[in-house]
């Protein structure tokens, strides 16, 4: 199984935002602020985490880092980081 590239992750995260929240692709830029620009609130963030977990197979709910997410770029970085950690654990 090949490990996903950064571009794969970005594409999948953007798909989650498009499908779960119907946000137009042109608004999904890395610097977009998840709460202010994309209009999510704390309850929507719970839905986002659930969708990301289902689509990407990552465990985000237990991660404290989820609280520090501000922009879409933070979401990409977090997912990528958690995905890589999971792969490292699997290899061990």
């Amino acid at each position: 199984m090949h490990s996903p590239t950064e571009a794969d992750i970005i594409e999948k995260v953007n798909d989650v935002f498009s499908e779960t929240f119907e946000i137009a692709p042109d608004r999904l830029v890395p610097e977009a602020r998840v709460f202010e620009d994309l209009g999510l609130d704390s309850l929507d963030a719970v839905d986002l985490v659930a969708s990301l977990q289902t689509t990407l197979g990552v465990r985000l709910r237990d991660s404290d880092r989820i609280r520090s997410v501000r922009t879409l770029a933070d979401v990409y970085a977090l997912v990528l980081e958690v995905k890589r950690e999971m792969e490292t654990e699997t290899k061990k």
Binding site: T20, F21, G39, L40, D41, L43, D44
Partner: protein
């Protein structure tokens, strides 16, 4: 501001605040007696019910006192006939006068869903507690859904300002989804209400009232069959879009 404008603002405030104080002092003995008697004789539920009804009547009196300062125009349907089903009124929020404007709603027992700060106001905060209003920031989502569902089941109408805070101007902030999730859970109709013209009555961060022509436009109710296939995010943005379009229509900015 011109000199005549300053004089008008001065007169508006010289009228409103003393009149508001005198009216509040005059009705407070009746209000206190009503709250105490209804709680003692009718138990907690009747007490809360009558406190809410009296808050509504007090709001009507505040709007009467405000009348020389602000003309209120009601647009749309549903102002004179209460909805047959218990519903959730969803309004945009520009000014501290918005909660008082809820007295224009036709429904008698209204539960306001509010932020923390109204509960911290002297006197009005105590009244909000007695009326068992919902301080949404002081409870978990689960507690909110349980309490608000219970209020709807008991026959109360809910009012909410999903922006969460006053915008202070003519912009419409992002909506929080809690009340829309509540509607999706309970199937309660959602009635959007667009409020325009009171952003300076008073402006955010000030108590200085500016004379205004306030337009409140009630849009047709959204019933469960029209929104049940939407996600909470889609639903909140759908209602936000309706209110935004209506505000643009009222303000002639379409």
């Amino acid at each position: 501001m011109t000199r005549s404008g300053l004089i008008i603002v001065f007169l508006a405030n010289v009228w409103f605040y003393p009149a508001f104080l005198v009216m509040s002092l005059a009705v407070s003995p009746f209000f206190v007696a009503g709250v105490v008697l209804s709680h003692v004789l009718g138990g907690r539920r009747r007490g809360v019910y009558w406190t809410r009804r009296m808050n509504h009547m007090y709001g009507v009196l505040v709007l009467l006192v405000l009348r020389p300062v602000a003309r209120i125009i009601l647009q749309g349907h549903g102002w004179h006939t209460p909805p047959t089903e218990r519903c959730i009124y969803v309004c945009n929020h520009r000014s501290a006068s918005d909660p008082f404007l809820m007295a224009k709603l036709p429904s008698g027992e209204i539960v306001q869903i509010v932020n923390r700060w109204p509960f911290r106001l002297p006197i009005l905060g105590s009244v909000a507690r007695l009326a068992d209003y919902i301080s949404i920031r002081e409870m978990s989502p689960e507690q909110f859904f349980a309490k608000a569902s219970c209020n709807l089941a008991e026959g109360a109408f809910l009012t909410a300002f999903p922006e969460g805070t006053r915008s202070g101007g003519r912009c419409l902030g992002a909506f929080h989804s809690a009340v829309f999730r509540l509607a999706l859970q309970t199937g309660a109709p959602v009635v959007p209400v667009a409020i325009s013209g009171n952003e300076q009555t008073p402006p955010r961060g000030s108590l200085l009232l500016r004379p205004a022509c306030i337009v409140m436009s009630m849009l047709p109710p959204l019933h469960a069959e029209t929104y049940r296939t939407m996600s909470p995010f889609q639903f909140k943005n759908h209602v936000r879009g309706l209110i935004d379009t209506e505000l643009r229509r009222i303000e002639g900015t379409t």
